[in-house]
Symmetry: C2
Subunit: 357 residues, 2 copies
């Protein structure tokens, strides 16, 4: 399709996103950001004043409402469905308490062959039906805006399931890898199957791309990442129809602290990569070759003066180059973030005008 | 000097360390580890039952006693002088309370031009005399074992001085970089001068190498690292006589989460690099070229079964190659670490026998 980009005919968000994933010319990079439906928004906090996080996650109408909130405030190109990565461990049979005041708690913890045997291999269409329902509601309400789905990556969910709570070092999770490597790989594989099925379910319900969040993969040595976390990502993606398959969609992989593993990321089987903010964007583009990338502004940069935010946005866009880049933060927006900082970031991305390429 | 390494004549620790820094052949890599004098040792906890952390840091005899403790237990090649990186902010005029039960507290915080003006440029030989005194006591007590000195890196100390306490995201420190870049660079420069003088003081007192710890540099984007943290490291090292200077010693730089910045580390001015455990050792050797490296076992791997520890030690030594490598952990040992795990690590390093190279 030929569009004269220099004439400044704006592309639709859907076309802009499609082109970015295909590394075709765009007018400016598509823009959305992780946790864009979240606590930094007063309208989100207003919903949470009425219902708990659990209730919100279990209610498609409310989930759709908060998914829409950032789109009504900022000219974003993409919606990200509201949910939480811990709905997958819940579907596998664990009890998850989200609102403890000190992070989520999961029980019982999974550390023995018996614990693994007890896990359910859920029928995701039933056990995880809230998100596909939310996707359908969203698409009816806002048909012109692409929406993405997501899930936690196997190693990251493994961390929570083994520890039973959020952690920093994930000692028990690592210890299980080292003391019971066969058992650990089995558990990772079981999680991967559910994650894969769940992401495909989201594509079937209309998600136009899906992102897997490997928030805690950066705590592993590169050797342990390759031995344990990477094969589980491959296994999950093997159950998902990707960018080039009929009925598929681009599969994106986000790993926090990914700089050490950039050279092996192509082995994950993803179609595109979301980069954390420590990654040097220009160098990542060289390492990742033709893969589209997403990222990677430091979320705390949204607390900077507006001129600094705009300068940082321009620097990332320049480093990423005009093709195959979706603008995003390098991690989720933090709750205290000023709305004005978010607005400046989105506006600066949309002001970009690539020369007709 | 010609030593027939295949004859298994053991080198002295001092000669082994000298050769490692010179990338000359050794029988096995020298071995020590970060926080080797620390809470994982019952004999250290016994000292701390008698005196506070502050008292310990201010007393050269006691500091020497705990510096010696790990050497009496494990066949290590190097001692690391016992101290804390926050003695430098203290010497610059801040009050530091170490034993709060929830991390150190510094006051007053440094955030304005007036705050910076109030800082002292200390005469380090007076204000920071405990560590050189400890070094001299150690060298008298244990003349055959090399001892290293250390200091926090400017950005890492800046984080504590701006926040007033330990953090995770270091929002105020980053915000100062972005809102007041000139002021922030001035503060970083003031800290760098003191750090540099302090490290040279340690070399003058007999430290056979010095290490600068940039624990929090990995929270910066690569752009901010290059703009703010890196010039401050250069400035500090410019005041320290390095490996090739008369009266100098090897200058080592440790940065946590360093994978993103490996390609620019040579610009720091250091003579060698200590690598965190997420770094892929084989790839780092290629990126860093001829620079000697130190590292990089995951500290939590010491909780693994002995056979796994030994396997991981061998894998790192194989990836690092036979020259220019000092074995170490990729970060400090954690307090709960089993002594048996430490013993297995040290033993496996010492069992290594490089072919005569």
């Amino acid at each position: 399709m030929d569009v004269d980009l220099t004439a400044r005919t704006p592309l639709t968000s859907r076309e802009r996103v499609r082109r970015a994933f295909a590394s075709e010319p765009v007018d400016h990079p598509p823009v959305w950001f992780m946790r864009q439906a979240g606590r930094y928004l007063p309208e989100y906090r207003a919903v949470r004043a009425r219902v708990s996080f659990e209730e919100l996650c279990r209610n498609p109408e409310l989930s759709c409402e908060v998914t829409l909130q950032p789109l009504d405030r900022f000219p974003l190109d993409v919606a990200i469905v509201f949910s939480d990565i811990l709905t997958v461990p819940e579907a596998m049979g664990l009890t998850v308490v989200f609102d403890t005041g000190h992070g989520p708690e999961l029980s019982p913890v999974v550390r023995t062959p018996e614990d693994i045997r007890r896990l359910i291999h859920p029928d995701v269409a039933d056990a995880l039906r809230v998100v596909p329902e939310t996707l359908r509601l969203f698409k009816a309400a806002r048909p012109k805006t692409p929406i993405f789905g997501f899930a936690g990556a196997p190693w990251t969910l493994f961390c929570y399931m083994v520890e039973g709570r959020g952690g920093k070092d994930w000692l028990n999770a690592k210890r299980l890898l080292w003391t019971e490597p066969v058992l650990a790989s089995e558990l990772l594989g079981r999680i991967a199957d559910t994650v894969g099925d769940y992401l495909q379910l989201q594509i079937d319900a209309g998600a136009e791309a899906v992102q897997m969040f490997d928030t805690w993969a950066g705590v592993l040595s590169s050797e342990d990442y390759r031995r344990f976390a990477l094969p589980a990502v491959q296994r999950a993606w093997s159950r998902v129809k990707g960018a080039t398959s009929p009925g598929g969609a681009p599969r994106m992989y986000f790993m926090r602290d990914s700089s050490a593993t950039l050279p092996v990321l192509h082995e994950t089987g993803a179609d595109a990569f979301a980069l954390d903010w420590a990654v040097d964007m220009a160098r990542a583009r060289v390492t990742l070759g033709s893969f589209p990338v997403q990222g990677n502004l430091d979320p705390l940069a949204l607390f900077a003066p507006e001129a600094v935010i705009r300068e940082k946005v321009r620097a990332i866009i320049a480093a990423a180059g005009p093709r195959g880049h979706i603008f995003n933060l390098g991690h989720g927006v933090v709750p205290e973030t000023p709305i004005s900082g978010v607005a400046a970031m989105v506006d600066e991305v949309r002001r970009t005008r690539f020369q007709g390429a």
